[in-house]
């Protein structure tokens, strides 16, 4: 059977704006992916635990509150603690350019800021999966 790409879309942090995350979820679905949408105000622990239970290939997080420098690396740390090294993690939201190198160093594979084309996000995911047949 054809390999389905499973993506967890989550909103860490306290901001209540999930329009962007929903647009991404819908776009990934239309690209043929299975999107597990976990909704607003997820803690890094919830995100990591859900991604393990759901056996996802990708975690896509969106954050607008400015807490990305804390929450994104925290997710990476928890994944490492659980020995998960085969999940692609991408981030998005209102993230200043100068923060991006630090997030990438922490293991976030790509950061998509406002104005990113959903087609670019889809392409990136398809080309950078860590698990392959």
């Amino acid at each position: 059977m054809e390999r389905k790409i499973r993506v967890l879309v989550a909103k860490p942090g306290l901001d209540g704006h999930d329009r962007g995350a929903k647009v991404i979820a819908r776009s990934l679905r239309d690209a043929g992916m299975e999107v597990i949408y976990t909704g607003l105000r997820q803690t890094p622990e919830q995100i990591v635990s859900a991604s393990v239970q759901e056996d996802v290939d990708v975690i896509a997080m969106s954050i607008l509150s400015g807490a990305h420098n804390h929450l994104f690396p925290r997710v990476m740390e928890l994944l490492k603690d659980k020995g998960v090294d085969d999940v692609l993690v991408v981030g998005g939201g209102v993230i200043p350019d100068e923060d991006i190198p630090g997030l990438k160093a922490a293991g976030i594979a790509a950061v998509f800021t406002p104005g990113s084309a959903t087609t670019d996000i889809i392409e990136f995911i398809k080309n950078n999966l860590k698990r392959r047949e």
């Binding site: 054809e2 979820a25 679905r29 239309d30 299975e34 999107v35 803690t43 393990v52 239970q53």
Partner: protein, 374 residues
């Protein structure tokens, strides 16, 4: 983690990554899953498999979230399979049931897995029954399956669940909906959710009237066999000795299992106007606030006890497994027919039918004979 790292031992030891990956392997129909599933076969059988089904928007996910919380409170380990539809056009899916259950994400006694239907009709995914067996063998006490939002004929859940909870809500249609065949016949426990909304009482009345009529008509519904067994235990006499002897004779007529005292005393509310007629329970809930959840769990567990006590738990599972074996065999036959040389046989037969050399039924007979040779 590599697929090859998945083993029955890891699943049995509570390794969530191994369990989750095994379910992915089932979804991908990976041949390598079989060795692990075979090794797990020795375990399990103890989980109570509960189906939650009903129309879209009835509140199934919120209800499931509350059931999980209540069952956890009773010290049980709970697994949830939440099924949502795949797009028939792109094959993609938004699996959004989990959003209502995320508070359990970090509870180690809870496992939640979202499944897409991947083209399978009937309200479940193809992988559901194998996934249930994995979670059972992994040691979960309750496995809850939330179906896709169903219409009137998505009844696959009856082939997997020990206890089916049919969720209705006020405002979906007139009373003719309640007497239509299909999903309304498959409940063991009926739940009217959003019971604080206008019209809830009417929905309860309609469901009860439907159930009462079904029982009076002796209709073959999912619950009728259980109730027939119960009827044998409802002697006209109130004399304790008579009741006890009726009990004994039923006990003798049923296979195995000690009958739990009291399990028969209560399965269902009595039908209005027919004090001796039992119908399945209809429970009102407001899942959002938690109202009625304790009662709903009580009814689900009472049903399980009644199934176990009457021997119907085993016969229901036996019937379901027989059905699944039939389906599995049919799939094997289909795939065998599609292999090269047989495919050519089918094409030849098709030409013969088109040319009127043989008829359709002769062609089928020829195929069947060819199959039994393989």
């Amino acid at each position: 983690m590599d697929d090859s790292a998945v083993s029955a031992e890891r699943v049995r030891s509570g390794d969530i990554r191994a369990t989750a990956r095994l379910i992915s392997m089932i979804e991908r129909e990976e041949p390598s899953r079989l060795a692990v599933l075979k090794a797990l076969h020795a375990y399990g059988g103890g989980a109570h498999v509960v189906g939650i089904t009903g129309p879209p928007g009835a509140g199934k996910s919120t209800l499931t979230d509350k059931l999980v919380a209540e069952l956890r409170g009773r010290g049980r380990r709970v697994a949830v399979l939440a099924v949502d539809p795949s797009s028939p056009f792109t094959g993609g899916a938004i699996l959004g049931d989990r959003i209502r259950m995320q508070r359990h994400a970090t509870d180690e006694g809870v496992y939640i897995r979202s499944l897409a239907t991947r083209g399978h009709l009937g309200g479940l995914s193809r992988s559901a029954s194998e996934a249930v067996r994995v979670l059972d063998a992994a040691g979960y006490d309750d496995v809850i399956i939330e179906t896709v939002g169903v219409g009137q004929s998505e009844v696959d859940i009856v082939r997997i669940a020990d206890t089916v909870v049919l969720v209705s809500v006020p405002g979906l249609g007139d009373d003719i909906q309640a007497i239509k065949a299909g999903v309304m016949e498959i409940g063991d426990v009926f739940c009217v959710n959003k019971a604080d909304k206008d019209g809830a009482e009417r929905v309860v009345r309609e469901i009860r009237a439907m159930l009462e009529t079904a029982v009076l008509n002796g209709a073959a519904t999912r619950f009728s066999a259980l109730y027939t067994a119960r009827a044998a235990l409802a002697p006209a006499s109130t004399d304790p000795a008579t009741i006890e002897s009726a009990r004994d004779s039923l006990r003798d007529s049923l296979r195995g299992g000690a009958m739990e005292q009291g399990a028969f005393h209560h399965i269902a509310a009595q039908a209005p106007g027919h004090p001796n007629l039992e119908i399945p329970p209809v429970v009102c809930t407001v899942a959002e606030t938690g109202q009625g959840i304790v009662e709903l769990v009580n009814e689900i567990k009472t049903h399980e006890a009644a199934l176990a006590a009457t021997g119907f738990l085993r016969s229901r599972r036996e019937a379901n497994l027989a059905w699944e074996l039939g389906r599995g065999a049919a799939e094997r036959v289909l795939s065998a027919l599609e292999r090269d040389e047989r495919k050519e046989t089918m094409s030849e037969l098709a030409r013969a039918v088109l040319d009127k050399r043989i008829d359709y039924y002769d062609a089928l007979d020829t195929l069947e004979k060819a199959l039994t040779r393989y």
